[in-house]
Assembly symmetry: C2
Homo-oligomer: 263 residues x 2
DNA sequence: GAGTGGTCTAGACCACCAC
DNA sequence: TGGTGGTCTAGACCACTCT
């Protein structure tokens, strides 16, 4: 039977620890020791009930603990599986270096090429509206200044990995390719530079939290996977904020790498 | 009664959406619209059962959804409360700049001073052992080279906020203050520089995930709060890796800020 | 159709907290 | 002591997946 090799330990009725927690401990231990390896099916709820002699709710509570820890992956009608970690994408701190733009590639497609995946963008919209207060602040604009808002979702090999919303002051973007669905080779940063807004630096503010239900849906997130929220601000050589990009990414698919000066 | 002002909507029996999800939606909405504000108590399970006319398990499933999203905070014997977001600590990318060390302050105490909190370190241990493969790799050492391992937990105003484990090649640390419990003013980076290992740069690799049970305990994490894992490597002017620091932090208490070059 | 997990009921007893 | 959430039982019916 599926994964029944792990059904060796029993409940300690003398223990103060809740039964469902003991069962969760057993299963977590089996995963840690690779008695249950990646992708392997756990014993079914029925099997676990029979083995431990407890009610179904108790088993389900135990399985929920593992789910919340991100250790398992439940598939309705199929079973519970040890989660296989997705390949991690490393985002290096030089990913917005000018040399990439000069090669005509936007950051995302440059990245995708590097790992041999097929990049794709969908749910692309471009509108003009007023910026959220937080964005207006970063761009040094009044709240009622119009900005061009570019929203999109990025996919790799057909799987959604990241949502992004860019805000560009309307006076920089209006009637330029930046306000078009396709901004052309090198992406919007290349267009900004062509217009004389040579980019000097970026700041990135990184937070992590559990996803909202909408984000979970958009990114096909499994339960127990947090998201990174990364807000990047681009500044031109004059020190003006020329773009804010608000991105949300599945945290289990990314490692962010940065260089810090020591001086 | 506590929060009973939110008990206005009812279940739609015609809807395909599970009853517990509908109830979770109602409560989430009430929180989002601030009909339930920060720190306010939600209606009790008994009240919710009576209002919606469902079994307790259904209510508990709904409350679990909010818990998993990090929106609420359950206190046994007291009630369920809208989570108050802790004050966020912003970690700037210049936090390891030499000027801070020159002032005789380690990064953590400099930070604490800035926000007017009382810094504290506990559970401090210093041992000598072999580095994990990942660490050996970053330090450019063979797996069997000894390193000095400094483990500690940082607290602000008595609350644990971060665990950290530093690895320093034994030939740099042995028989120096770095291998002592108290490394002296400016911390271990100041000591490394005194020994001629002037620091040139750091790299930081950031990931986020749900905490292990041990981490949840060490950091007093509430359910639904992910952790940042930040692995920092310090390099001296000769390009040698001189320290790896592996830290785990409650993600809801931090915002990491970085500067990226555009050239 | 057989087996899986998803939802839901209607109870029970317990541990913790505030009064 | 009464109210709160924590754990657990023993059922039921449903939706999904695979064969």
């Amino acid at each position: 039977m599926a994964g029944d090799g792990v059904l060796t330990q029993m409940i300690d009725p003398a223990s103060d620890r809740a039964v469902y927690k003991q069962i969760a401990d057993h299963l977590r231990d089996a995963i840690a020791r690779a008695r249950l390896h990646e992708g392997e099916q756990l014993p079914s709820e029925t099997q676990l009930m029979a083995h431990y002699g407890v009610a179904r709710m108790t088993i389900r509570n135990a399985l929920r603990v593992l789910q919340d820890e991100g250790l398992t992956n439940t598939e309705h009608g199929r079973g519970v599986y040890v989660r296989a970690r997705p390949p991690v994408r490393r985002l290096a701190s030089d990913r917005f270096a000018q040399r990439h733009r000069k090669e005509g590639k936007a950051a995302f497609s440059a990245e995708a090429a590097q790992i041999g995946a097929r990049p794709e963008v969908d749910m692309l919209t471009v509108i003009e509206s007023r910026p959220p207060a937080e964005v207006a602040d970063r761009l040094g604009l009044a709240d009622d200044t119009e900005v061009v808002v570019r929203s999109r979702r990025y996919l790799l090999d057909g799987k959604p990995v990241e949502t992004a919303v860019s805000y560009i002051p309307a006076d920089l973007a209006r009637e330029t390719p930046i306000a078009e669905l396709n901004p052309g080779p090198g992406g919007i940063y290349a267009r900004l530079e062509e217009q004389g807004h040579t980019l000097a630096r970026f700041t990135e503010d990184v937070t992590a939290r559990m996803p909202t239900p909408e984000e979970a849906k958009l990114l096909s997130l499994r339960p127990g996977v947090p998201v990174f929220r990364l807000v990047r601000t681009a500044y031109d050589v004059g020190g003006r904020g020329v773009e804010v990009c608000d991105t949300v990414m599945a945290a289990d698919a990314y490692q962010l790498s940065y260089e810090l000066p020591a001086h």
